[in-house]
Symmetry: C2
Subunit: 85 residues, 2 copies
């Protein structure tokens, strides 16, 4: 039962991490970010940095791995938002 719950957490983490890939690719290609909220992109970068620090403090590899990838994708999204308004 504990094992099944862990798998649920891994599946959730993988999906919410990889979800940012099509969004990052879309705005990187189209260079259009009008409908993306700057506040969302900025707050998400801050929040994911905090999740990453939390993972490092707890020495929790899945949290570190998932949030490293998400942060990379969100940095691309924030860069595009600021660059191509």
């Amino acid at each position: 039962m504990i094992y099944q719950t862990e798998y649920l957490g891994y599946a959730a983490g993988i999906i919410t991490t990889l979800a940012f890939l099509p969004q990052a690719i879309r705005i990187f290609r189209t260079r259009r970010t009008r409908d993306i909220s700057l506040l969302w992109a900025f707050a998400m970068n801050i929040g994911i940095i905090l999740w990453l620090l939390y993972g490092i403090a707890k020495n929790d590899l899945p949290i570190i791995a998932a949030n490293s990838i998400t942060l990379m994708l969100l940095m691309i999204i924030l860069y595009c938002k600021v660059r191509y308004r």
Copy 2:
């Protein structure tokens, strides 16, 4: 030290949850979702439902609370994306 780490987790959770509020408000008001990836919106809804089930299985109130609010906001975003292409 453990307490400080917990606060870090709460701060991260609150920021990545509330980040979706300006994004949901923006596309609900403008009714423009062109630059939002449908795959992102769809995958995020699925992923957050799994995080919610994970929180329920682990009886973890902060995870349940954060992901309930995020799911509500992401359902609005997905609805707008499908409704106003």
